[in-house]
Amino acid sequence: MSKHMTEWLNAYLDGELRGLRLHDVEAHLEECRACQEELQSLRGLSVLLQEVPVPGFISPERLAAQVNLRLPHQQTATPRKRILEIGWWMIPVGLLATWIFINTSFLVSDILSAASNLGLLTSISDWLFISSSGEAYWSSTLGQFGFLSGNSLDWIASTEAFTRTSIPQITFQASIALLYLSWIAIWWVRRRHQVHGKLLEG
C-alpha cells in the first residue's frame, strides 16, 4: 500500500484537488482504512462546526443606515484626485532622486578631476574633459593682458575656481532644500486642515 495521504485529505474534502493528485488520493482511499477514517473524522468535524448557529443580527438595511450616519462627509477620492495625490507624494521622491543625482554627478566629476590632475586619466582625459577645454578662466585672460600679476592673480584665480565649482553645487543644494522645505510646510498645513476638519465632523 502506498504512503498515507493525510496532508491532502483536507483539500480532497473541500473539493480542491484536480487531475492526477485527485486520482492518487481516490485510489489511495479505496485501499487505506486509516485514511478513510481520517477523512470521516474530518467530515464529522465539518458537521460539528456547522452545528454552531449564527444569532440574529440587525437587518442589513438598519446596518446600512447606521453606517451611512457614520460615513465621513468628505467624498472619497475620484480618479483625478487620486492622480493628483500620487503626484503630490512623488514630489519628495523626485527631489530626493534629483539631489542624489546631482551629488553623484559632482562627486564623480571631482573624482575624475582629481584623477586627471594626478595623471591617472591621461589617455581618456582629452575626450572626457573636452567641454572644459573651451572654457578659459577670465582671471588668466586678465593675467595675460597684464592687469593682474603675482599674489593678486593667484587669489583671483583661486576665487574664480571656487565660484566655478562650489557656487553651482551650493545653489543646487539650496534650491532642492528650499523646495523640500516648502513641500513639508504645505504638507503640514494640509494635514492640520484635515485634522481640524475631522474634529469638526466628530
Binding site: E7, N10, A11, D14, E16, S41, L42, L45, S46, L48, L49, Q50, E51, V52, P53, V54, P55, G56, F57, I58, P60, E61, L63, A64, A65, Q66, V67, N68, R70, L71, P72, Q75, T76, A77, T78, P79, K81, R82
Partner: protein
C-alpha cells in the same frame, strides 16, 4: 461569464467611488450578512460583531478609491472584516462567547437533557474555534462558514494558496484534538 448581479455591483461600486452614498448603502445591504457572519465567527459576540461590521464598512468607504473593480468586492470586504475582528480581539483581550442565549435553539423536540447537552456541545465547539490562532481561525471561518474556495480565501487574506492549505490543516487538526478530548469529557459527565 459576468452575471447581472456582478454588473449591478460593479456599477454600484463605480457610483460609490464617485461619492454616491446611496450606492454604497446598497453595497452594504448586499454584503452585510456575510461580513457580520465572518466577524461573529471570528469574535463570538453579536454586539461586537455589529460594531466591527460598521467599522468594516466605514473603512471600506474610506479606502474605496483603492479598490479595483475587477477584483472581488466580497473578498476585499472580508479582508477588512477579518482585520477589524482581529483588531477588536486584540483590544478586548479575547472575547469568549458569553451569550449563548443568542444562539438559535429552535428545535423544540429535544428534552431538557438533550437540549442541555446540545447547548454544551455548541458552546464547546465555539470556544474551540475561538481558541485557534487568529490566522488559522480566519481561514477556517472563510472555508467552513462562508464556503469559499482556497483561491478565494488566498485572495481575501492576501496569502498564498499553499498557506491557506497549511493553515486549514493545522486549524482542523487542533480543533479535532481539542474537541475530541472535551466532548468525550462532556459525554462522560452526562452518562
Amino acid at each position: 461569464m459576468t452575471t447581472p448581479t456582478a454588473i449591478n455591483e460593479t456599477e454600484l461600486v463605480t457610483r460609490a467611488q464617485n461619492g454616491e452614498r446611496n450606492a454604497f448603502s446598497e453595497l452594504v445591504c448586499i454584503h452585510a450578512q456575510g461580513v457580520l457572519n465572518v466577524i461573529y465567527r471570528m469574535c463570538g459576540d453579536v454586539h461586537i460583531a455589529e460594531d466591527a461590521a460598521q467599522e468594516t464598512f466605514i473603512q471600506a468607504w474610506s479606502h474605496l478609491s483603492s479598490y479595483q473593480p475587477q477584483t472581488s468586492l466580497r473578498n476585499w470586504l472580508y479582508r477588512i472584516a477579518v482585520n477589524a475582528a482581529t483588531d477588536i480581539l486584540r483590544k478586548e483581550k479575547r472575547i469568549l462567547p458569553n451569550a449563548l442565549e443568542d444562539l438559535q435553539l429552535k428545535d423544540p423536540q429535544p428534552g431538557p437533557e438533550a437540549l442541555f447537552f446540545q447547548q454544551e456541545r455548541t458552546s464547546l465547539v465555539q470556544k474551540a474555534v475561538l481558541s485557534l490562532p487568529d490566522a488559522c481561525r480566519a481561514v477556517l471561518v472563510l472555508r467552513e462558514y462562508e464556503g469559499m474556495s482556497y483561491h478565494e480565501i488566498a485572495d481575501a487574506l492576501d496569502i498564498p494558496v499553499g498557506t491557506v492549505m497549511s493553515r486549514l490543516n493545522y486549524a482542523r487538526s487542533l480543533l479535532r484534538n481539542r474537541l475530541e478530548r472535551q466532548l468525550l469529557r462532556v459525554e462522560a459527565e452526562n452518562v
